[in-house]
Symmetry: D2
């Protein structure tokens, strides 16, 4: 994205625990700035987004955060179930609420959200993660139908497979390339939902 002239900003509760995708997005971005903010904290997110928007009018946001959990249902405490939802869905809602109205006011912008296989299928031992990822997808569909006609592109990617380098993994650079292709789409032909997986992945 930086190579395409985007200024890059990142919001995260703990930016020392960074996903491979975040690392890729950050490298080579000269004006990069990170905000150590909990995505589910409305006031802090709103302040960070306002600060970003002042530096560089907000044109795109990628929500990639989630809390993975794989455990049999009897091992999942309600508080853990809630924590997975807060990271994977409520944070996205809070970020969308800070960004989409600004974009809609300008009639332009894009918001991409990252799902998983569990967005479409609730497998055994995935009660918390699947529920949270389904929740994110339902939210994103609503946002797409509400903000699309106002000129804001809202899309959801199902990332199906392990992210990483090497055979059989989703290379972070290639995920970024797919996201970038969608960010570049003019409003005549917008993608709303797509999946991405390595060629060897069973599905």
């Amino acid at each position: 994205l930086a190579a395409e002239g985007y200024d890059i900003f990142a919001i995260g509760r703990s930016l020392t625990e960074e996903s491979p995708l975040a690392t890729v997005l950050r490298k080579d971005a000269p004006g990069f700035r990170a905000y150590a903010v909990d995505a589910a904290d409305p006031g802090a997110v709103s302040a960070a987004v306002a600060d970003i928007d002042r530096q560089s009018p907000l044109s795109a946001v990628v929500y990639n955060a989630s809390a993975f959990q794989m455990a049999s249902f009897e091992e999942i405490e309600p508080a853990q179930f809630e924590a997975v939802w807060r990271a994977s869905c409520l944070g996205a809602m809070v970020v969308a609420r800070a960004c989409l109205p600004r974009m809609a006011a300008r009639g332009a912008g894009a918001a991409l959200f990252t799902g998983a296989t569990a967005s479409l299928r609730g497998g055994a031992k995935f009660a918390a993660f699947a529920s949270a990822k389904f929740a994110l997808r339902g939210l994103v569909q609503s946002l797409a139908r509400e903000y699309g006609p106002r000129g804001v592109h809202v899309a959801h990617f199902v990332i199906d497979g392990l992210i990483g380098e090497g055979e059989g993994k989703l290379a972070p650079d290639e995920i970024a390339a797919a996201y970038l292709a969608v960010l570049r789409q003019p409003r005549s032909a917008w993608m709303q939902e797509a999946d991405l997986r390595p060629y060897t992945e069973r599905f």
Copy 2:
């Protein structure tokens, strides 16, 4: 259900605000007892379920609670978004956690969960409700895959249309009849997901 010999119990935060379905389930049930409990409160739900199970071994649970909300995204405060999820999804998780392990220990029982059109489609102005109903469906699929092989029937109904008496509405008695037909299914042929709508409903 009472006419079929089931003892009926109900758990609800405010049992004076009763849904038509709850009213139907309660009428004619001689041993009926109501528990004024918040479904999202793990301790209270667990105590109520233990109390019910002592009176009559728990054979079926129907989770029908939800909080409906229709509002444009900019009008939805994060706290409201969360409240809709707590009523529609977290409560179901807490109730399932109190009931399913008891059923699995006996290798029998059924848990039915009520969804809506918004379980499958996130429409404009339904960001909170669709997200919560998607979340419920993801949870229920996971539970079905986890508890089915242990002899517990977990199913999800999409109720598509207004509930009530009269032409073009879903009669509560008929919803109850459909649920009862599923409760009666032997484990040779279990339904996991179905929809129900009036014949005039567009979908």
Copy 3:
């Protein structure tokens, strides 16, 4: 169905090759009559349906025929691909065309169609079967939306698992019971799509 007072009729290209479900539907039906007709032959189906309708006004039709095929794509000749579609989808269209307008004229009736896991997922080695079962489901959805408001109940079952007696199989009697429960639904609460599987079946 016979025990419920239905007169039973069957249409099939070769009624000596009978499915377990057909056998169940036929037993104990005093007025049972079989028609040796290819379901994809419009003239013959139309004549058989007219003949049945004269004996007993047509109230329900169950389309259960299909041609299963599991083969790698390179082994499937176009003629075989077509034969699977003719048995699984075109036959259903021809039968629906003979039956649904008669039912719509009376404002009552039901048509049930039998799908499979391959109705929802195109697996490797299922190119012909999945394509034909997807085709059937698309047809049935259209028919439901077109005939529902005219008083005709159109529904699709995904039968997921092996049909037969014994642990881990779908008992034909139980499939029939599920179909019968749907045939009995009043138009206030109609199911359109449901699945059925044994409790041990992975999905």
Copy 4:
């Protein structure tokens, strides 16, 4: 595609009746050659593909053909229902059969198939078109699962909206750009299903 250095070939029953997309794909392609072949004719397609492959090793195929029909079910003759399926699904099967084994033998190549809203939803008056487009999607999913691990990228686009120039339409150039972005994906991150629609389109 031509601008990216692809040699372009087209197969169609009647190449004077050309879709806007075909027109776009053809312009500026110096080595362009058209084959007047019925896509559902296995022998002719196979010969055309062999001829193309000799000129330029086959690296990508786009199947865009279909026969649209919107009519109430009672107006659709079985022969018309079949004709819609032959153009929309059987032709794709025949083309895939001619192309995918060649690509798999080289461990590289891509096949893109064009669906519609009716690929996912069978609306009233769309019995023939929805059934055929569902059939195509089921076929394509099977092909993706069968050929993906052999190095051939198989993908399905739901094109939702009218194709054309001007506000509220899908610009053919933009559809081509989206297809091209998918053709460029390395096998580390392949899209299998995506949708495309204008920002104003209701869905």
